[in-house]
Amino acid sequence: MKKLFFAIVLSIGILSFNSTAQTAETIDASRLFGSLTARHIGPALMSGRINDMEVHPSNPRIIYTGTAGGGVWKSNDAGTTFNPIFDDYCQSIGAVTLDPNDPDNVIYVGTGETWPRNSVSIGDGLYKSVDGGSNWIKMGFENSERIANIIVNPSNSDEIYVAVLGALWSDSEDRGVYKTTDGGTTWEKVLYINQKTGCADMAMDPSNPNVLYASMWEFRRTAWSFESGGDFSALYKSIDAGKTWNKIHNGFPEGQLGRLAIAIAPSNPNILYTVIEAEEDLRKGLYRSDDAGENWNQLNNDFGITVRPFYFSRIVVDPKNPDVVIKAGLNGSISRDGGKTFKSLGRMHSDIHDIAFDINNSDIIYAGTDGGIYRSWNGGTTMEIVENLPLSQFYHVSVDNAEPYNVYGGLQDNGSWYGPSSSGGGIEARDWNSVGAGDGFRVLRHPKKNIIYSEMQGADNVWRYDVDNKLVKTIQPLPVKGNPKLRFNWNAPMAISTHQPDRFYMGSQFLHKSEDMGDTWTIISPDLTTNNKSKQEQESSGGLSVDNSGAENHTTIFTIAESTFDENIIWVGTDDGNVQLTTDGGQTWTNTSANIAGLPKNTWVYHIEASVHDKATAYAVFEGHTHGDMKPYAFKTSDFGKTWTNIITDDVKGFARNLQEDYVNPNLLFLGTEFGLFITLDGGNSWAKFTNNMPAVAVHHIEMHAGTNDLVMGTHGRGIIIIDDISPLREITPEVLKEKLHFFTSKPTVMKDQGGFGSNFGTETQFVGQNPSTAAQIKYLLPKRHTFGKMTFEIQDMNGKVISTLGAGKSKGINIVNWFYSIRQPKTAKGKTFSFGGFTSPRVKAGQYKAVITKGKETFEHVFEVVYDKHSGLSAEERELKFNTTMKMYDMTEELAYIVYELDAILDAVNKDNKKLISSLNSLKETLVITTGDNYVGSAEPQLREKMADLYAKIAGSYDKPTSNELGNLSIIEERFETAKKDFAKLKKKAKLDDLVLKSFDEFIKE
């Protein structure tokens, strides 16, 4: 009856599932990912950009940080380690604020980073948690794009102010200061200037919540220019809780203003500091007011104070001393004389964005930089980095064919790196290798040689690094006679060829080709961009503070893709919207972008994927966020760009930057957007967001490893994230979804013999990247989660003998069960202590095995194969010898266990007066197993059990065949065992316990 119930429930589930699958022409992947899980490999050693720091008002152990692209992290141990608490939501953070009335529980997060460099992401509103970050609710502000501050009235939790800096690349009416008096149910915009001017900083008088200061900033970025400052930038004060606002400029410089910071000394709210971006260099810098903003005096205009106001306008005052002031900046500056003079903070990663003082001890300082968080214990003199924040911001990612393969990529302000996809004990900081300076972008490994190409911003340097010989040279294309100035993007494209290993492409406005790894260059195209001169005036970019870093270089080539079918087919995409194609190696070019319906003109071509399935097919991903257009765009052509089809649906959230085509199933595509990874199983008819250990982080680039089928993502804020072996996704079809249980095909798995040593100490607080599983993975699809009734999973040999029982996966969708090729450990004789060798589970022989799933009445079987590791170089005979020797000792161990069991039983049963026999039995036992001591330094002299098990473990655990020394040792043990068995047989006879009921050997082993 019970089974009937399960069957009915199950069939109802399946029926409804099928009907939905059949009616639509799509394969909805959203609930099918099951236990397909992403793993994070960091790196964290260079960490990534921090936007905001927040300390708990009464518990100095608790610190929060809002990061530029990696979400919100919380430390419970005064900044020693951090944990992410905001993974399901937008990872670009502007501000994190605790409700001072309930700081353990109530947290506000304003999304969208507020130091708007060219590469910033976007926010999507305000969030609140009432349980310390376990759960979050959205509080509106969807179009705010970036939130600079959130302030909760310290005597009224329902009164909250939100500073909306707003859109970076477009006009917006959402900017300004907002207020709620009902805990966020309704909001009133209490200060608004215009569509160009947002609130960049805000402060509340700690002694009077009606007194507020707000700095309003007129700013705008385009893809090719940045403007900071204008007539509307100003510092405002309200003394009536935001009802009215007045400019407080007495003592301010004349003319236009730019970005202003505002800070109140917590220990004396009349003392204010502001840093002013002004027209005249002399009048820029730090200003102080001692009368709550009535009058201002300029104190300092050092470089450290005035540098890049858009990036560093933050002042933090010591909570106890109004004269100790820290200004964010290139290095960060601290003043101990009320702002008159400054010195740099201790050496740390440059670009300091925020500072927090410990609430009790101002010698303890936390600094948020472009390279993570640093701690100081001595007032900022020396700084040490937090080692477990994997916030690395990759622009690009590539892989090689090494085993394990390496991952390459460049980072925002953190150079270029490569590291292994797996490493002994996990992927640690020490596994990563630096291969470039400055900002890093694309890093490519030569297809055949141990040579790495890397670059820095604007292709100022393109390096060719001969790894074996440690030789570095720069190879960037230089203009020669007849060339105009070359325009390289900040993130300049490079490409290698699958046809000619030494070929190397770079893109300026032209496509450059080298056949000798960058030593000589040929231009093989005309200017492929729009060459719009009005977008090429970067020397005047920046507004009141010139900021010509190269970050705004525009009308450049951004992506290059050579077809794997034909080296003469090359696709090129430009940052100003051209999709150019040559089919004759560059002699003629066609701009196909006019053929794309529904795409706004000049939308940045972020990526072109030349299909590996069809010569005429390609995908193009566009993104228009630098025009204020946040929609995702991806199109497919199957006729060399003559026509393009939109493959984006409403399922996709966030603008898209990259697309990866599967190498086997042309309908399986992966799309990286600003809010995570999306997958389609039906060529783009529907998309599903992948969320299994995958944060909603900006995915800038995706690569697939052809050998492992791993999907490798370069994220801009959470480092490298890998989904191991996505091959099950290839097999999901409407037919497969109808099966009661579908086993996915599996390649033979190698029983790896390779080992090594992980590091032990000194890395306790470091982030360690997860390794892939080395187990045989049995993968299957369930149409519905298994919740009721028994479901078991066995590994059997081909004769049906059970080798191992494992926990079955029960999730709807893809399930993955790991089997470590092992037979259960031998039953080992009972002694006083443990025989550690006896805990060894031997490996099976290579060959075919069966996974057998029993689910209710039904049984499902799948045959798979495991093979030996070639690295150990053993012949078939040597493998046989190793296996047979191991199993011989396994059997001896169990035989000894049974003898000791029998002996103990006889000791229990024998007449207690028979002291001689008891003594003989005990003497024998003392030679069989350890009968005294403990498992540590109190251990006794090893006996037969220990010697046998240790040798067994040594042979079973070695990659190698048994050595003659080991076999020699084995023969001593065998001899001793034979003698012991004879001695025991004699004593057993003497005991004359014919009636004693003992378990049989089999019963004993199986109990």
Binding site: N83, M791, S804, K810, S811, F820, R824, F834
Partner: protein
């Protein structure tokens, strides 16, 4: 007959969820109803679970005993030797040290925290109000490809490093049959503090008059875990109280003897 009732309830409820919002108490009531009824649950005085864990090829047999008066222990069998872990007699928490194989007491804070939740057997939702717990329905969430109700269970606060902290778990009840399939809670103490643990339950089967999960997979939230497969659950087992008592050390002299 009970199974028919179960089926009926499950179907009706799965339809009605489309229309009516559920309250946390309705979900809990449905859970107990679908798994045997509150009365049957109230009758459970104790249970002994025989289970197996497979750790990288090594099969470890476990016995988990929990009684209504808060007494509990886990017994691991290694090479014929019984190692007791997490033994609690209502007052003292202790475990066998693996090195010395002798009993050692748990720290006082952990012991005190055990005492604070010793009345939640056999299920924290049974009599949760009497235990001073609160529940809150947070909404629906998809987990394991399955639609669930997410319930927040707040137990009596616990003490962590000398500071009182909330003790919260999130239970995910399958919307179709109302049994919990996943529990998540924040790790409150130790170096993993701040991360979330996750247990997934399945293989609900009849034990006496109730249904209990026979498979539990435990690990960190969102990551593959370790499965405990339960072979047998014995209800109301006879366990000698002495088994839970801390064995007072009588071997001080012997130790000196051994050193000599």
């Amino acid at each position: 007959m009970k199974t028919l009732k179960l089926l009926f309830v499950a179907l009706i409820v799965s339809f009605s969820t489309q229309i009516n919002a559920q309250t946390a108490d309705e979900i809990i009531a449905n859970y107990f109803e679908n798994t045997g009824g509150v009365e049957a649950w109230q009758k459970i005085e104790g249970m002994k679970m025989s289970a197996k864990v497979n750790q990288g090829g090594m099969e470890i047999p476990l016995e988990i005993i929990q009684l209504k008066n808060g007494k509990q222990m886990t017994v691991i069998n290694f090479q014929g030797k019984e190692i007791k872990q997490g033994v609690f007699n209502g007052e003292v928490l202790w475990s066998t040290n693996f090195m010395t194989q002798k009993a050692e007491k748990g720290d006082q804070e952990t012991t005190d925290n055990m005492k604070r939740q010793m009345h939640e057997f056999p299920d924290p939702f049974l009599n949760y109000k009497d235990n001073g717990y609160t529940v809150e329905l947070l909404g629906k969430e998809e987990i394991d490809g399955t639609e669930t109700f997410k319930l927040k269970l707040s137990k009596v606060p616990m003490i962590v490093d000398g500071i009182e902290e909330e003790n919260v778990s999130y239970y995910f009840f399958d919307t179709e049959n109302f049994v919990p399939i996943v529990v998540q809670s924040e790790i409150k103490a130790g170096p993993m503090k701040g991360q979330s643990s996750e247990s997934k339950m399945s293989d609900y089967q009849e034990v006496g008059d109730v249904y209990m999960p026979f498979s539990m997979t435990q690990g960190l939230k969102g990551q593959p875990g370790q499965t405990i497969a339960i072979d047998k659950i014995e209800l109301n087992p006879q366990i000698d109280d002495k088994e839970f008592e801390f064995p007072e050390e009588e071997a001080v002299e012997t130790t000196i003897e051994e050193i000599k």
